[in-house]
Amino acid sequence: MARIIVVTSGKGGVGKTTTSASISTGLARRGHKTVVIDFDVGLRNLDLIMNCERRVVYDFVNVIQGEASLNQALIRDKRVETLYILPASQTREKEALTKEGVEKVINQLSETFDYIVCDSPAGIEHGALMALYYADEAIVVTNPEVSSVRDSDRILGILQSKSRRAEMNQDPVREHLLLTRYNPSRVEKGEMLSVADVEEILAIPLLGVIPESQVVLNASNQGTPVILEEQTDAGQAYDDAVARLLGEEREHRFMDSQKKGFFARMFKG
């Protein structure tokens, strides 16, 4: 049985696809057979972030509608052996994702994969609901900013009422907070919500904090999941998050701005 993880947020542009790419790559690099599914029908982008946009032949909707087999649609990642990508359709409307169709595909993937990562579209419409419906766990990607935090809370409410686990009265979806685009120096100046603030408001366990970094844009420009940029803070922060997802204890890093010397701290400003 595969563990099904949805990467969701409500708000757009907070880093869902970046996170899906890095988390799935991280899981696969640790030897787990992993598939990442793009649920953003009509606005496919995971393929671009993972540098396989020119290898897409069939997509998720083709599989649901029986026009292609799962094996025909799955794209094998060129960097990590145990990683596969199931791209979204660029042409169909999002209603093409039926609950039964998605279930069929997920059940079939469940037979051979250890992890199924579902990259949710923004919003709380059909595509987003389908992405979270079958989830066992949810990574709620949040920026330290008012609209993102509010939308994350909204998505948490939906996870607690509209997921399969909620409808079937099973154990609830396990929720994880992933705070992205975090800028410690702005937090210290009192200009940005802190990790503690967001944790207090959303009241779910913290999976990781990804610092705001130029590296993320550079990685997406090149189609490299940022977790593979091992020498960078953002890459390491994602690696920590994957380790925690797998139950490892790791201290949170990159939450303070550059350490200052003793005198600088005493007389700063």
Binding site: E145, V146, V149, R150, D153, R154, G157, S161, V187, K189, G190, E191, M192, L193, S194, D197, E200, I201, R265, M266, F267, K268, G269
Partner: protein, 84 residues
């Protein structure tokens, strides 16, 4: 934190405002989340009935459901206009 920070005003940042606003709106929206779906319509219909007798504004009728362990209480608050 250095001892000099003690003398520095900490209220310059906007983050504390953000946090306060979020706490209020999130608590409000969570309260609504657990409400039954029929509540808005119930509120509209109650408003219509009351308006047969007294002219009141939309926001003068508050309907809430309080859920306790073994029973739920429908709380209805109607503010009537001042008598002249």
């Amino acid at each position: 934190m250095s001892f000099l920070d003690y003398f520095r005003s900490r209220k310059t940042g906007s983050a504390s405002v953000a946090k306060e606003r979020l706490q209020i709106i999130v608590a409000h929206e969570r309260g609504k989340r657990d409400q039954p779906d029929y509540l808005p319509q119930l509120q509209q219909e109650l408003l219509a009935v009351i308006r047969k007798y007294v002219q009141i504004d939309d926001d003068m009728v508050q309907v809430e459901v309080d859920r306790n362990e073994d029973c739920s209480v429908l709380e209805l608050n109607v503010t009537l206009p001042e008598r002249r």
